[in-house]
């Protein structure tokens, strides 16, 4: 099956932004020809054609919480959101701390076949931060794990962090940190500031994130390990990353759509859908995140897609677990909140959502629509306005604070390894592989 994507605005993440046709043939990007006999033509006039999006941070919940999400439903949600690859976080049950678990996740992703499911491995056994997980075995397994993290918790012990970085550096693998000092953050429900004081909710100070980010940057400098900071949320962390990069430390960072679209004032409603970890920070932090995304300090936009059941999210604020869905709104939030107001251009948006995550993970098959590359392509309408209806999500759960919100920018078609996974905004039930 071949497809001719005609008349679209091609933004390929290399800085190019031009009108041209894209031909998909035998699963790869082919050279455009004068006649494309037999190819199905997709009219992309007025639409943007970009590399399929890559999410560095997805909680697929399988194995262990298949009531909340499975690799199949997460893959469908990802496809619907314009993604062709997702990095599955290891805080499952059992924890992905061995080759057997990551292989299972990887194989299940292949079985579903809507996106590449790239398992991240745990740094420590059981995410306890005490003994190293089977890092080398996970790297050598068919899943070829490249990114390791105890996400959901920060590594509290500096010696464990150092040793693990040293070990990972030997494989040129990535140490990814959920920056949170447990002592400072203990019992915290939201960002510590004026709003937490007024609302009577225990705060998590910005310093709980910044102390660990500073420690890890120092250790990355010491060990030469590649460091990736997950979901950074404060102005102070942005500053730390900016300085570390200037000094040549091998550090990358991601930020989530909720941290560049919302701030702690929204918590006035006590709506548990707004409870996330790290918490929504102040308006000034949010501005610093946007600046960091614009100037290159922050490398990538990652969703921290975290499905939670309705029952869990309708508990009292204090008892509700942190986390919100992200895969099906990330692109539209980026276009609405960053591109439309002119904070970043379309090329930078594609870089943040597709090419930079590809580069960080070292993926060969993603993040490019150059000739000869596997055809992982998203086509979206940058101007279509739609209203978020969680009832239409492909995820199993509905935990989003954006319900009812009007967003601009909608996914129309997605090609995954040359096969169509989304047509006219609809995820195809069975992806022809």
């Amino acid at each position: 099956m071949s497809f001719l994507i005609s008349g679209g605005r091609v933004v390929d993440g290399t800085g190019a932004d031009e009108m041209r046709d894209v031909l998909i043939e035998d699963g790869i990007i082919a050279a455009p020809r004068v006649t494309s006999d037999g190819a199905e033509t997709i009219d992309a006039s007025g639409l943007v054609v970009a590399p399929g999006l890559v999410d560095l941070h997805t909680h697929v919940r399988e194995p262990g919480r298949e009531d909340e999400e499975t690799i199949a439903t997460a893959s469908a949600a990802a496809a619907a959101g314009g993604y062709t690859a997702i990095c599955a976080m290891p805080n499952t049950d059992p924890v992905a701390d061995s080759a057997a678990i990551v292989e299972k996740v990887w194989a299940q992703g292949r079985e579903v076949g809507l996106v590449d499911v790239i398992p991240a491995g745990a740094l420590s056994r059981g995410l306890r931060g005490e003994r190293m997980a089977d890092i080398g075995e996970m790297i050598r397994s068919p899943a070829e794990v490249r990114l390791f993290t105890d996400d959901g918790r920060g590594v509290q012990n500096a010696l464990f962090a150092r040793r693990t970085m040293e070990y990972l550096a030997g494989f040129d693998a990535i140490y990814a940190e959920h920056c949170e000092d447990d002592g400072l953050a203990a019992g915290g429900q939201m960002h510590e500031g004026n709003w937490s004081a007024a609302l009577g909710l225990r705060g998590i100070p910005a310093e709980a994130e910044e102390l660990m980010a500073a420690r890890d940057i120092a250790l990355a400098r010491l060990t030469g390990c590649r460091l990736h900071l997950l979901h950074i949320s404060t102005a102070g962390t942005v500053k730390l990353v900016r300085r570390a990069k200037a000094e040549g430390v091998r550090v990358t960072a991601e930020a989530t759509p909720h941290h560049f679209t919302l701030d702690d004032s929204a918590l006035e409603s006590y709506d548990p859908h707004l409870k996330v970890n790290p918490p929504l920070r102040t308006h000034a932090d949010r501005e610093a995140i946007v600046d960091g995304l614009a100037d290159g300090t922050i490398d990538a936009i990652a969703t921290d897609h975290a499905p939670h059941s309705m029952e869990e999210k309708e508990m009292e604020f204090t008892y509700a677990p942190p986390g919100m869905l992200g895969l099906e709104t990330a692109l539209a939030l980026t276009l609405t909140e960053l591109v439309a107001p002119g904070r970043i251009d379309m090329a930078r948006a594609v870089e943040l959502l597709a090419t930079a995550p590809t580069r960080i993970l070292g993926l060969e098959d993603q993040g490019s629509i150059a000739m000869g590359r596997p055809a992982n392509v998203v086509i979206f309408d940058p101007d279509e306005t739609w209203t978020v209806d969680p009832g239409e999500f492909h995820s199993k759960t509905r935990n989003t604070p954006y319900a009812g919100r009007s967003l601009t920018g909608r996914v129309r078609h997605v090609f995954f390894r040359g096969a169509r996974t989304v047509a006219d905004g609809r995820v195809l039930e069975e992806a022809p592989v």
């Binding site: 429900q189 500031g193 004026n194 004081a197 007024a198 609302l199 009577g200 909710l201 225990r202 409603s269 006590y270 548990p272 029952e311 309708e314 508990m315 009292e316 604020f317 204090t318 008892y319």
Partner: protein, 316 residues
């Protein structure tokens, strides 16, 4: 006042509304001095005390207030954590009460914001009887009532609130109420117990009780919460008592007419010396008595037909 569907926070009340609640409480208090202490106003209405935290005082006060107005009262006590572990959700409980047709839910909950969530789920009126560290509006109203009873006017009175402000819903509600009524509020205590952000609440922060004790009209002492002992917020109860406790020596430096208040229950010998709590200055028992009148007033204004005027004519 009929526009006040729920009472979740003192933020909802302006000076006029507070005055109306206190004035109504004053009228209703006459009832409590009669041999037959009951009015027919809320006959046929049902009030539920939904308490997720143990609190004998507040629950009894609300229960008695509702009964004196002839409402039917049901009490629902639950431990939030065990309810959660049993899978019995807050929302299920809310809907169950709604299905039983209760007219008002008085809710006490350890989780800040729980009354706000409840108010989104039910048609009944929701009264916040204390949520987490957030607010305890009826405590603030009864405190305002008690102060007004002694000083007639709250304008320009100097009130010191002393102790653990960070973890106190009583402090948050009182600061809002006092500032709205034109009083001058000083928050006093160790720096670990006063949020830095409190300077934006319209109050002054002072860490030295001795620096303000001679100037205040009211010294409002908060309970030292023993359960926070392991959080390293101050070195010891002894040191707290020496620096921020109100003992006889400190109390003797207060203005002659100045009052001592406490929301109870008291830790005598820590934040307040036993003899000070029983001195002429202390209006702690007035606070309890006034709590009943203020809660009657709120139930009356929220559930009754206050547009007909306060009718305290006939007991039943």
């Amino acid at each position: 006042m009929s526009m006040l569907k729920h009472l979740l926070s003192m933020d909802q009340l302006g000076a006029g509304e507070i005055t109306r609640i206190l004035d109504t409480a004053e009228s209703l208090r006459q009832v409590t001095d009669r041999p037959i202490k009951k009015l027919p106003t809320l006959r046929g209405r049902t009030v539920c005390n939904l308490f997720y935290e143990a609190s004998t005082r507040t629950r009894i006060s609300f229960e008695l207030a509702a009964k004196r107005l002839s409402a039917d009262v049901i009490n629902f006590s639950a431990d939030a954590k065990s309810s959660v572990s049993k899978g019995e959700s807050f929302k299920d409980t809310a809907w169950t009460l709604e299905a039983m047709g209760v007219d008002a839910i008085i809710v006490r909950h350890g989780s800040s914001g729980a009354p706000h969530q409840l108010a989104r789920w039910v048609k009944a009126s929701v009264l916040n009887a204390g949520d987490g560290f957030h607010e305890h509006p009826t405590q603030a109203l009864l405190d305002l009532f008690s102060i007004r009873e002694r000083f007639k006017d709250l304008e320009d009175l100097h009130v010191a609130i002393v102790g653990d402000i960070v973890h106190s819903r009583v402090a948050r509600s009182n600061v809002k109420g006092l500032v709205t009524m034109g009083a001058k509020v000083t928050l006093v205590g160790p720096a670990t117990l006063i949020p830095a952000q409190a300077k934006d609440w319209g109050a002054t922060i002072e860490h030295d009780l001795d620096a303000v004790i001679e100037d205040v009209d009211v010294c409002y002492l908060l309970r030292v919460q023993k359960e926070r002992q392991n959080e390293q917020l101050y070195p010891s109860d002894r040191e707290y008592s020496i620096l921020w406790g109100l003992d006889r020596r400190r109390a003797s430096r207060m203005k002659p007419e100045a009052l001592v208040m406490h929301p109870g229950p008291m830790n005598r010998g820590v934040e307040i010396a036993a003899d000070v709590s029983e001195s002429q200055r202390s209006i702690v028992l007035d606070q309890v008595a006034n709590g009943l009148a203020v809660r009657m007033s709120l139930l009356y204004l929220m559930l009754g037909k206050p547009e007909d005027g306060v009718d305290v004519g006939a007991s039943v």
